[in-house]
């Protein structure tokens, strides 16, 4: 199989038509590749490539790259945002639900919106947010108290504010919404609280909810039978990472997370659809077209909340996902068939595959009272950090974690709004220490072409650019540029804090910039 390679190199001079007054239309979102100076959606395009056609910063000159400015949010906690870049302005979010707009030339703030969060919100894993979406004169944002909001892109003022669901039951929003046509689409977080997950679409003008897809089928719906008794009501299956969109078929590809309780399968016998599943939804109606479940009846917290990357290979329309369970899956999005699933890290939970090529769980990988060691560990071979697909090299790059954990059961009754794990995991002090590597995977075969080893696992996303470069961060605080073809480190900068975000690129006045959030600061880099 050959992966289509885009050989067209964009010249900065041709694309720099920035106009500070132009509004983002849905047509611009569909055609985002035509304006690489901007970064209009979470992953940079609807396909989830996190690839920039900018090539001014390249293999030959990246060693001279310098910091251009730093914006300090003043917020503590994990800083997970991917900024949007729109005609000279950056829009981003910080911990504790702050949203801000910056002058992309200087990093100077234009406005700041700070959500007044209740004291009893239920974020499982920090007061985090990963970014905004934009359409027209509005910026869209989902909050930790489960509201969906439209802010005025010029001032940060609230235009509409809708409560999606009661946050006290454990629901929250942490992801960047996705705008498709006139809809603002986002999935809910809360797989640690016994929620019933959903994906919502709101009218961008009014905030009226246009559809909701429950990720756990109700009585009478197909898939409901994959849950034991009433377990479906508190079965989790959140949808906390931004999906991708195929304009040709008007389908959303949205992945879901773990069934609840996350590490204990007793009481929810069955496959637990649609947990840990790639959903293909009609974007206009939210109706399910088809699905592919990665981990059935999960007991290891292996959310499938990794960006599903659309890759076109000749006539074949594919979707690739480096899954938290340690397998790299390629699914044909026309036939809905799995092409292959290959490990891209150490796995011990599966020795066999079913007739369709899907990895099957070993009996001995089940959590036990006294604990059983399983690889990957609870954080997975990767987690939510964005991968990138580089159409020039034809390679898929992802930060992989090498980590095994002991999984132990701990029966726990469900209480509304209270943490609901049903089990625990912890590191084995006899096991090899955790480490990580950025891996370049050939999506045609699943084979690893090269790796760049990190001393400890990285939580950073990855960006590829037409300059032949891959950008990533690490937990030691470095922001790093690698040769996309060889994995050789070409440049690095010590930001002073672990990187929990994904890089993005934009251009202004003929100059390319790359931005990354780290610690409490947003950094922009460029050539001198």
């Amino acid at each position: 199989m050959r992966i289509l390679r885009t050989t067209r190199i964009y010249c900065l001079s041709l694309v720099l038509i920035a106009s500070a007054s132009a509004q983002v239309t849905s047509a611009r979102l569909v055609n985002s590749a035509k304006e690489p100076q901007n970064w209009l959606t979470y992953s940079g395009d609807y396909a989830g490539h996190r690839y920039s056609a900018l090539d001014q910063i390249n293999k030959d000159n990246v060693r001279s790259m310098v910091a251009k400015w730093v914006y300090q949010t003043g917020a503590t906690g994990k800083f997970e945002t991917t900024p949007l870049a729109v005609d000279g302005i950056l829009y981003a979010t910080g911990p504790d639900d702050r949203v801000f707009a910056l002058d992309a030339h200087t990093g100077r703030p234009i406005w700041l919106y700070q959500r007044q969060l209740p004291s009893d919100i239920r974020p499982c894993c920090g007061h985090v947010n990963r970014g905004v979406a934009i359409l027209g004169d509005k910026v869209f944002f989902g909050s930790l108290d489960a509201h969906v909001m439209a802010l005025d892109a010029k001032t940060g003022g609230v235009i509409w504010d809708v409560a999606a669901v009661d946050y006290k039951l454990g629901y929250s929003f942490t992801l960047a919404p996705l705008v498709v046509k006139n809809l603002v689409i986002l999935g809910v977080s809360g797989g640690e609280y016994g929620i019933r997950g959903f994906i919502d679409a709101y009218d961008a003008d009014t905030g009226q909810r246009k559809w909701r897809f429950y990720t756990i089928p109700g009585p009478g719906e197909p898939g409901h039978e994959t849950w034991e008794g009433d377990s479906w009501k508190i079965g989790g299956a959140p949808a906390w990472i931004t999906g991708t969109y195929d304009p040709a078929t008007n389908q959303l590809f949205w992945p879901t997370g773990n069934p609840s309780p996350s590490n204990r399968g007793a009481g929810r016998a069955g496959d637990n659809l649609y947990s840990n599943t790639l959903l293909a939804l009609d974007a206009d109606t939210g109706k399910l077209n088809w699905y592919f479940q990665f981990t059935r009846h999960d007991e290891h917290d292996w959310d499938a909340t990794q960006v599903p990357v659309m890759i076109d290979d000749g006539d074949r329309r594919l979707i690739a996902q480096a899954n938290r369970n340690g397998f790299f899956y390629v699914v044909d999005r026309s036939s809905h068939k799995l092409l292959f699933a290959n490990p891209y890290g150490k796995i011990t939970w599966s020795n066999n595959k079913d007739a369709d090529g899907r990895p099957i769980s070993n009996k001995e990988s089940e959590p036990t009272l006294n604990g059983s060691q399983v690889c990957p560990g609870a954080a997975g071979t990767t987690n939510w950090m964005s991968p990138t697909f580089d159409s020039q090299t034809g390679l898929f790059y992802v930060n992989a974690r090498e980590q095994c954990d002991i999984f132990s059961t701990a029966p726990q009754p469900y209480e509304a709004g209270h943490a609901y794990y049903g089990s625990a995991y912890f590191p084995s002090d006899e096991a090899e220490p955790y480490w990580g590597a950025l891996r370049a995977i050939d999506p045609a075969t699943g084979q690893i072409k090269w790796e760049f080893r990190h001393p400890s696992p990285s939580w950073s996303g990855v960006l590829s650019t037409a300059g032949g470069l891959v950008f990533t961060g690490d937990s030691e605080g470095n922001f790093i540029t690698l040769d996309a073809a060889s994995g050789k480190a070409l440049w690095h900068f010590q930001t002073g804090a672990a990187v929990y975000a994904a890089p993005m690129a934009f251009a202004l006045d003929g100059k390319e910039y790359v931005a990354i959030a780290a610690g409490s600061s947003l950094y922009a880099f460029g050539l001198p």
Binding site: P411, Y425, P427, P455, H492
Partner: protein, 270 residues
């Protein structure tokens, strides 16, 4: 005034009580064991016998107090300046109720090891060995006195089981000690051994103080600190074989080792 009194009365049941309402209740201890696994075992280990970074909790001695009220306060409010978080602020657990905290305390009481009637060893002799024939102090500091190459052992007698300390002396490479907890890292740096050859051909062997992909900070046996950029090195080799020699019984008898452990406990669990 009346309104204030009502507020105080309403608030009372929510506050921590001084005494565990579930004391010696085996069923509550079992529920507490499950809560412990979910919320505490990540750091304190399965069975509460200490993990990579959390102290052993099976001992009667606890650094921050062992009364019911002390334990409740430590669990609910955390320990400032340490990795012990306030209840509900860790990604592992998302807030235990008061009842669940008492269940955990009931569980901890059920696994608490009774202190031996007699001290395990001779702490005074252990101190003499530590600073003398056994030469522990060549690399380890206790209360400001001793070497710097290995971990400071001032508090180790209060946070690790005697078995753990014995195993660390007999088999130092089995589990490398963990040191400084960096705010930017999930896990603290370990005392790994590194051997480098510099551009001018000098070989340096030492303990990693810190490392990233591009640089390493290390200390050699002479306590010299080297700050090195990896690209300038001829070679860089790191192992998990500790620089500490394995003290077998020919180097240190079981009795002498017990005396050293008794010394460390006398200091660390004071």
């Amino acid at each position: 005034m009346r309104a204030l009194a009502i507020v105080v009365l309403l608030a009372a049941p929510v506050l921590a009580q001084d005494h565990n309402p579930y004391a010696d209740n085996a069923k509550m201890a079992k529920l507490g064991e499950f809560q412990f696994r979910i919320n505490c075992a990540f750091c304190h280990g399965l069975g509460a016998r200490g993990g990579g970074r959390g102290p052993d909790l099976t001992r009667a001695y606890k650094r921050h107090g062992n009364s019911d009220a002390d334990l409740f306060n430590t669990i609910n409010n955390g320990v400032p300046g340490t990795a012990m978080p306030t209840n509900g602020t860790t990604g592992q657990g998302v807030g235990m109720t008061n009842e669940e905290i008492w269940q955990v305390i009931t569980y901890l009481r059920s696994v608490q090891v009774k202190a031996p009637a007699k001290p395990l060893g001779d702490a005074a002799h252990g101190r003499a060995l530590f600073y003398g024939d056994a030469n522990c102090s060549g690399c380890h500091m206790v209360q400001g006195k001793g070497g710097r190459l290995g971990p400071n052992l001032t508090v180790v007698g209060g946070i690790r089981t005697p078995d753990y300390i014995v195993d660390s002396v007999r088999n130092p490479s089995r589990r490398l000690a963990q040191g400084l907890l960096e705010a930017t890292k999930e896990f603290p740096q370990e005392y790994e051994t590194v051997t480098v050859v510099t551009a001018d051909g000098k070989e340096i062997k030492g303990v990693v103080m810190n490392e990233d992909s591009f640089s390493v900070q290390l200390m050699d046996a002479g306590e010299h600190i080297y700050l090195l950029e990896k690209h300038g090195l001829r070679s860089f080799a790191k192992t998990r074989t500790s620089m500490m020699p394995a003290y077998d019984t020919s180097l240190l008898s079981d009795k002498d080792l017990q005396d050293i452990v008794a010394y460390l406990i006398s200091v660390g669990a004071k």
